[in-house]
């Protein structure tokens, strides 16, 4: 797969920029947070593909995940908007300038709880951009309540049990119009890079749901698929505001295989990577594959669906090639003759 080759280490990329040109500020997220790993992959991808930073605009909502755009691509414009409404802001910006490569990064709370409406309508419009969901099943920034992607049966530290079925953002996206739908795991460097690169190249909306564990609040005690590592050591650690510091998790899974990944809190994730011969152009079978994996308690990763030719929203709107944002007055203000004509019609 050409998209996954890692170029040999060198100081500058094909457009002469250093990796530094693609970095952002120092992260203020917890050490070991999956979101940080995703930021790193983004930096690498844009560096490796040699994309001009000024060409990119970053968008996010509110949450730990939505803070992360400050931590990559420091030379790209960024917009940290309001909770759950990243899609609208990004859509507007892309309408204003469709030459921009839009990169949205938000959380599962942002996307599937408060933002499910905007997400689905964004998908329906096939607005050309990359939409990364940093999916941890909880609201990290507000200290660990369930989001709408939380697994059925998982349990919070406070003892609250999630008894509602999760929204599967991939299923939603592919059923209702997204033209590139993938799932990955924040710890799978190679796959995530490959998917990001493919998404960058894709012309329509690319949705990438990245399972990105919250090391601080995602202690799935009592959940069907995990146990609490902290259990034995619990007592001395009764400390309300303590956030342990972890190393990043990394994992590599061969195509078509399943691996169990142990998270920091001891919970396990069963990740299955799609077969090499999986056909990602069939909606129904993609949906079925997701449904099946869910039933087995597995996380299915890879490109689930792709429809490269479907017209984008920009095409549907028949926009001129120049960005609307910078059209000269002569192109946006009709002539005096036009006004005279209209006035005449109204007489």
């Amino acid at each position: 797969m050409s998209t996954t080759v890692t170029p040999p280490p060198k100081k500058v990329n094909r457009i002469g920029l250093e990796i530094l040109n693609y970095k952002g500020l120092k992260t203020t997220l917890c050490a070991g947070c999956g979101h940080n790993a995703i930021s790193e992959r983004i930096v690498e991808c844009f560096y490796e593909l040699g994309i001009e930073p000024y060409h990119v605009a970053k968008f996010s909502g509110i949450g730990c995940s939505s803070k992360s755009p400050a931590y990559f691509l420091g030379q790209s414009h960024g917009f940290n908007a309001v909770h759950g409404r990243m899609p609208a802001v990004a859509s507007g910006a892309i309408l204003a300038n469709h030459h921009i490569l839009g990169l949205g990064v938000t959380g599962d709370g942002d996307t599937a709880s408060i933002g499910i409406g905007q997400f689905m309508h964004q998908v329906r419009r096939n607005v050309p951009m990359i939409y990364v969901i940093e999916d941890n099943g909880v609201y990290g920034l507000t200290k660990g309540q369930f989001s709408a992607t939380a697994d059925l049966g998982s349990k919070l530290k406070t003892g609250v049990l999630n008894d509602l079925p999760p929204f599967d953002c991939c299923a939603l996206a592919l059923k209702w119009g997204a033209t590139f739908v993938a799932r990955s795991f924040s710890g799978d460097k190679k796959q995530l890079q490959a998917l990001l690169k493919a998404a960058i190249v894709h012309k329509g909306l690319s949705v990438i749901d990245v399972v990105s564990p919250c090391v601080t609040f995602n202690d799935h005690e009592g959940s069907t698929k995990s146990y609490s590592y902290m259990k034995d050591h619990e007592e001395p650690l009764h400390e309300v505001d303590f956030v342990p510091s972890y190393e990043d998790i990394t994992v590599e899974i061969p195509e078509g295989e399943v691996r169990e990944v142990v998270l920091h809190d001891g919970s396990r994730l069963r990740i299955r990577k799609l077969d090499r011969d999986y056909d990602p152009t069939q909606k129904i079978s993609a949906l079925a594959a997701l449904e099946e994996a869910e039933a087995k308690g597995e996380v299915l990763t890879g490109v689930l669906y792709v429809a490269p030719e479907k017209p984008t929203f920009i095409e549907l709107l028949n926009l001129m090639d120049e960005p609307l944002a910078t059209l000269p007055e002569s192109k946006v203000r009709p002539s005096k003759e036009v006004l005279d004509l209209v006035m005449e019609e109204l007489r």
Partner: protein, 614 residues
């Protein structure tokens, strides 16, 4: 059938003898969905074409078909185009309301009605003209299915006869209405109008005093609704991204804009559009897209009404704090909540001025006429970009959806103002920039547009605390400095928005202040106060908020100043109370109307007189 039958007891005879020329109102009472709009428009136009100042107001229910609707046409030789409370000439087509419609008329009014309704039995002090519509329509419209439609045109003919409207003007108006392509439809309707005219001519003896006479007061003028005028303003303001969600009474603003854009903003060579219009899934999305587009350098806008304003609150706060241009048209209707969606009000003034939690303040424009809709739409885009902030254009249902006579609009004389935007070349020269630094002392920083080809162009926009380099900050000093700059920016706007229109009268002890559509009632009321009560008044009409310094001057030159509000809570007065000196507030009186109809002069006059203790 004889006219004696029609009005068994005569109205006072002196009335009939004193003709009332070009100064009365006609009300057509129908049911919505019954297709009376053409007949009403044609009637209004024909009077307009006779050179007589005219205005039309449609009072319609919030459903699609089957409920009472009233259309009022006012002819005024004095040029008054506000609502007139009293109906002089009623066309009663709706059985459901006919009784109440007739009972509320002043003595001496005329009533054209559908004969089977037998309205003449109700009162003896009116002039009744019964018309057997069903009988008349059959011969002129062989196709039974269409009769319901064509039937309305008959009253145009009847009224033309009774009011001395030139039938050729009716014909001309009909042709204009249907356009060349619908000649057959125009013919059919013309036949109906003629049938009405002929019937009236041969049946009625004119007894009421109302009639028209040619004048020359409308030459060159146009007829347009405020929403269309706003749309044209946006078109010529160079709007590029339009986002919306349908809501009465704002929908037609965008729908008209779309139509104009399709005609005039498609590149003839490439066939490509210089604009994007998105019907969003709701108002949170429409304002979000407008904000995103404004951030990325588009001239962006949305249009909505009260409920949409409420839903936009969070995003407008973001726009204020992150300093992003966008123009929001609020075509006000009656709140709170769903309220009366097809009635007019100025009830969102406080909401819009202060929209969103925390300390926020937003500029607003107050157009009073289609011409001002046109010019202020342009002003609003310029202000939004110059000051990098959301800007409201406050119109209302009366202005937006009713037809108004207007001078033709002036072609813009100044270029589009994109405000302080740094190009790659600027950045090269400067070496960098601080997005939120007050370089010029006006509170407005410089911005860059995403896509600007320079490594120093990028900055990070956020609704959370930031320092002047757009860096994340929770520091007390950064926060306060930024908020102080935003306050300064708002102060700077006072001198950048268009100044108020002031009419000082040296003999006046009292003043009137009004914005938007209240203007028309106030103008007429001032004449009433002078003519009927010998009270001279001055008048100030702010065109925008924040208020210009002249507001205070005006107040200080008068003993008492009446602030006219089309809302219950005296919101315009409230905006003044929030910022004026107490001694200035002390001169202010509140004059409120909040019944949902366009404000009329009599209501203003009566209230001033009541408060003046006369």
């Amino acid at each position: 059938m004889s006219t004696v039958e029609v009005s068994p007891a005569e109205p006072r005879s002196d009335e009939a003898s004193r003709p009332v020329i070009n100064d009365f109102s006609i009300q057509v009472a129908t049911v919505n969905g019954s297709g009376s709009q053409t007949a009403n428009t044609v009637l209004m136009r024909s009077i307009f074409q006779m050179g007589i100042p005219v205005s039309g107001k449609n009072m319609f229910p919030s459903n699609i078909a089957g409920l009472p609707t009233w259309f009022t046409i006012r002819a005024s030789k004095h040029g008054y185009i506000g609502r007139k409370k009293e109906v002089d000439f009623l066309v009663a087509m709706n059985p459901e309301t006919a009784r109440e419609d007739v009972m509320s008329l002043d003595s001496g009014a005329a009533v054209v009605y559908d004969e089977p309704l037998k309205l003449n039995a109700l009162r003896s002090d009116l002039h009744f003209y019964p018309v057997p519509f069903d009988k008349l329509v059959a011969p002129v419209c062989p196709e039974a299915k269409l009769r319901k439609l064509v039937r309305n045109m008959i009253y145009d003919g009847v009224v033309a006869n009774l009011l001395s409207i030139d039938m050729q003007e009716i014909r001309k108006a009909l042709v204009k209405q249907f356009g060349k392509k619908k000649a057959k439809a125009a013919e059919l309707n013309w036949g109906a109008a003629q049938a009405g005219y002929d019937y009236a001519a041969k049946t009625f003896t004119k007894r009421d005093p109302f009639r028209v006479e040619r004048m020359n007061e409308t030459a060159g003028k146009i007829i347009i609704d405020g929403n269309s005028a706003s749309a044209l303003g946006c078109l010529f303001a160079g709007v590029t991204v339009v986002t919306w969600y349908p809501i009465t009474p704002s929908s037609s603003l965008v729908e008209t804009l779309i139509a104009y854009m399709k005609r005039f903003r498609i590149d003839p060579e490439t066939g490509k559009a210089s604009f994007a219009v998105v019907q969003a899934e709701d108002e949170l999305a429409s304002i979000g897209m407008a904000i995103g587009a404004g951030w990325a350098g588009a001239r962006s806008m949305t249009a909505t009404a009260g409920p949409g304003i409420s839903l936009m609150a969070e995003f407008i706060g973001l726009g204020y704090y992150a300093e992003i241009p966008a123009v929001i048209f609020d075509v006000e209707r009656v709140g709170p909540s769903t309220g009366l969606p097809t009635r007019t009000a100025q009830g969102d003034l406080l909401s819009c001025a202060l929209l969103s939690h925390g300390d926020t303040k937003h500029p607003m424009f107050f157009p009073c006429s289609p011409e001002e809709c046109f010019t202020m739409a342009q002003d609003a885009f310029n202000l939004a970009e110059r000051f990098q902030t959301p800007v409201f254009v406050m119109t209302d249902l009366d202005l937006g959806m009713n037809n108004w006579m207007s001078d033709p609009f002036p072609y813009p004389t100044t270029p589009i103002d994109r405000g302080k935007v740094l190009s790659a070349e600027d950045l090269e020269k400067l070496g960098g920039f601080a997005r939120y630094r007050d370089v010029d002392g006006d509170g407005v920083g410089y911005r860059t547009i995403p896509g600007t080809r320079h490594p120093a162009a990028a900055y990070f926009t956020r609704g959370s605390g930031h320092n002047d380099r757009a860096g994340y900050s929770e520091r007390e000093d950064d926060y306060m400095n930024n908020m102080d700059r935003l306050a300064l920016k708002f102060e700077t706007m006072r001198t950048h928005v268009p100044p108020p229109v002031a009419e000082y009268n040296d003999r006046a002890r009292i003043g009137l202040i009004a914005v938007g559509t209240s203007h028309h009632a106030v103008e007429e009321s001032r004449d009433q106060l002078r003519n009927e009560y010998e009270i001279e008044t001055s008048y100030l009409r702010p065109k925008a908020y924040p208020f210009n310094a002249e507001l205070v001057e005006f107040i200080r030159r008068h003993d008492r100043v009446y602030v006219v509000d089309q809302n219950r809570d005296a919101q315009l007065l409230g905006l003044m109370r929030l910022e004026l000196e107490p001694e200035d507030i002390a001169r202010l009186r509140s004059l409120r109307y909040y019944g949902g109809l366009p404000l009329d002069a009599r209501t203003v006059t009566d209230e001033v007189i009541r408060q003046e203790g006369k």
